[in-house]
């Protein structure tokens, strides 16, 4: 894929693209806001997950790779 296109999609900004369905943009914005609000209220990982399980849960064992092959 064109890396620029991918970057635009990841950024998900409606002003950037017009490539993304408006409902998806609205959902993403709402999701980001909810996650930021929870983080502000102190719900976060702070590295605990990695530390507790002997480093086995690196990026590959985290979301979205939840099968533990």
């Amino acid at each position: 894929m064109n890396p620029l296109l991918f970057a635009l999609i990841i950024a998900g900004s409606p002003a950037n693209s017009g490539l993304i369905e408006p409902s998806a943009v609205a959902e993403r914005t709402a999701l980001e806001e909810r996650m930021a609000a929870l983080q502000e209220r102190g719900v976060s990982d702070a590295g605990e997950r990695v530390a507790q399980w002997n480093n086995w849960y690196n990026g590959f064992q985290n979301w979205p790779n939840w099968r533990n092959w």
Partner: protein
Amino acid sequence: MNEGAPVRLVVVQPTPYCSLDCAYCYLPFRNDRRRMTLDTLDAIGRNLLASPLVASEIDIAWHAGEPMTVPPEWYRDAFEKLAANAPDKTLRHGFQTNGIHIDPTWIELWRAYNVRVGVSIDGPARLHDARRRTRAGGGSHALVMRGVDALRDAGQAFHVIAVLTADALREPDEVLDFFAGLGAVEVGLNVEEIEGVHGESSLAGDDIERLYKRFLSRAIERADPGLRLREVEGVRWLLSAPPEVRASNPQVSPLAIVSVSVDGKMSTYSPELLGTPTTRWDDFAFADVHREGPEAILENPVFMKLRADIERGVVACAQSCGYFTVCGGGAPANKWFELGDFAGAETLYCRLTRKATLDAVLEAWETANG
């Protein structure tokens, strides 16, 4: 698009054979008793692990068949051979096992090589035995629990993967009571997938998303001190991960995961793909580790077509889905098995494991935090 490499996870199939006969199994060749030869292991070390395309620290998952039907001595040789052939790399081995063969000899091996151990248990006997059956058709719960007792007695850490069926979702407290007392480091909740030779799921019904979300909400509400759920911890991790990490997804990144079959065929993307019989995709076998390294996968013309389709699927996700920035385009295997098309977007699998999981966990935390 993320180029994928370096390879960070290598999934090795020591044998396709499995000693159980679970109702939801996706493996097409679980009666095949072949065992990987030492020649093939030698080639995995030399041509794959030692490759500059492979990261300096690698997870090796022994899977795609029951790894413990191959004896512990074989693994001692295997671990030594791989380490000797890739001396500059740090190898971290992991087993995902059906748990019925665990004994002190195995635990000693895992200790000696610092192997991560995951046991598959679906909950209490009633639920587990309904699906996870022996080859004679009986339940396997008692056998697995004997193995779990051995792990606990030896102080060997283990995690659990549980496959949730519709029956389990209807009885959250029964399932959560069981796992809260089990002593696992973490419990991962897989959903019964439509995958491989398992062409239907008890989770395909109308009410399933509600039941799945209710299950997770109940788990968060109970907050059992002895129970750490992978799904909940995964969402917690998401909250603090930087945006580019959240959306990175090795299942759609070429070479990030490399799978090696019992006879040395190599594949990439979702590990479930390798060995799925399909003429269109050459059984997803794109290179032979006896002759070549992981770069050969990238040059295979069938792989190139697959890559284009998977990338179209990622774009479809990016354009249509409100969860893309925390999912990165899902699991190609599930798109293929459910939709028959890598270029598709939403699946039952992602509706439950991504969307409903996020919704349920965020909602529960929002309620708890006023």
